[in-house]
Amino acid sequence: MQLNREALTRAYRQMKLIREFEERLHEEIQTGEIAGFTHLYSGQEAVAVGVCEHLTERDKIVSTHRGHGHCLAKGCDLEGMMKEIWGSQEGLCNGKGGSMHIADIDKGMMGANGIVGAGAPIAVGAAISNKIDGPDENGKLAVSIAFSGDGACNQGTTFEAMNLAVVTKAPAIFVFENNHYSEHTGVDYAVGTANDIASRAEAFGMKVWRADGTDFFAVYDTFREVLEYVRTPGNGPAAVEFDTERFFGHFEGDPQRYRGDGELDRLRAERDCLKIFRASVTGAKLLEDVDLDTIDTESLKAIENAVQASRAAPRPQPENVLDNVYISY
């Protein structure tokens, strides 16, 4: 743990914003105001933030259907995201994408993705581009990251992408977030190498790391090593598996009949990355409870403002359906 006060505050704020973004959506979706399918990231915040806090805008990420956390952590505008989920013309994607397709290319966020496993080949393409561009003045490569869940680790696209990255020595990083559920099915059933996704990446010839995804510091410190390795020209890709938890269902509305008795309460009590972070930094006297409480209050206010702005934001017009299919046609 080598972070200064400012960095710790920032990390907590990012995680808390994601948490409250998702908790608020969980409530708002039940009113029927938000259309479509939404997949919430609550519980996994330490992974997105522990990874993205290391990145610059040159580095790229490709996300998943459960993408809000990655988007916020990579710098997408919170209000623009909320407006997009509301389907507003002022949303980050002008209401064309919604929850599953939020992107901000200028920020290096190359899209959430509605197809499980589709992101990894795209991330490898971006990583090959990084390799072509070559190292910066410090001799380091920009990297491209494919976030994948334990569901995506069973898709052939992910295997193809891992092999292509190894073959081309592309500076790609495969971040596997194992939240133990592929939609409504447990990893013990669906992943042949149950609870060991990293070994698959290892079998493709990659150096791999593993860490507890509910411990921000474990994620952050592990990812620093991963990044140092992949940024070094000639090393090629790497993979890291984070053991994490999903606090909501696969999608909003999922009755979660697959959960064990008291499972969600136990996860929220024992495996909550925000609680673990708070206990860790206050225990070590790096931050005080009052500092964190202030961030909590500010985060809730930011979310409230975004929701109010989204409700008031202009709706797309019917003729906008024709916009942006092509640049020229």
Partner: protein, 337 residues
Amino acid sequence: MAKMMYREAIRNTIFQEMQRDERVVVLGEDVAGGMGTAGGPEAIGGIWSTSTGFYDAFGPNRVIDTPISESAIMGAAGGLALAGKRPVAEIMFADFIGVCMDQLWNQIAKFRYMFGGKSVCPAVIRMPVGAGYNAAAQHSQMISQFVTGMPGIKVVMPTTPEDACGLLRQAIRDDDPVVFLEHKFLYAMSGEVNDDPDFCIPFGHARLARAGQDVTIVASGMMVRYAETAADDLAQDGIGCDVIDLRTTSPLDEEAILDSVEVTGRLVVVDEAPPRCSLATDISALVAQKAFASLKAPIEMVTPPHTPVPFARELESAYLPSPAKVAAAVRKTLEYR
């Protein structure tokens, strides 16, 4: 002007664009060929000879020889393009689109729309199409019906070496994703090619391959050759045909088709795809909707039957359109009273 084969026109155009713009990169299976073998890179130079000499000229960073992983090729082309490069990816046989459809259809085609116009994905996907080599059901297909129906993708089907050159240069310089369908049977055909290094043919402008007053024949790719042969034979009997080479099926030059049908009143559409939900049905519907009053006879479609592509020579010949089948369709429209 310089005389060259269709495959040379393609190879030379990509080579020149790679020299001109360092963002242009090539990827695909065996685009160098021989990687990891005693023969070494360039042992093959692309199985269609459309990337010969690239590896030696531009090196492994820009000539990315991939494993047999079509999804990874297609996806990487999308990622490269989103990241600012201009990838020219080769899917060795268009039939393999079945392996990587998601990365084209759900990803590359939709990025710009889904992201509210904030992304640019200038990827070119080259795919050799078509039958005639007895390569059977999985190496012979026409796929224009799938890709033409994908909003967000432009689709090019060049017939002549010159069009292959001008349309491919346009595809590489175009900011939208382009699927470029090269007919395997056309690779060895020769023709004069404009050698201006900036020669481009804009999309959406059909070529009038033959001119006549009696019947309109609409075709693309190899089918244009059959239509031309049929038109030349029919001309001996005093029957004049407009042969419209679409060049691009998306965008579609509706005006060229409708203008011709208004004069001739008779339409034959030649398509190498099976007959349902295809270019042939699409163009027939267009003319039925927008030029109904001009029609003097039912529209004729010359297509394969609703079957996979067969292997045996006799069966493949029976399956494919031919100049004789096109000529018969033209005569049938003329006989209608």
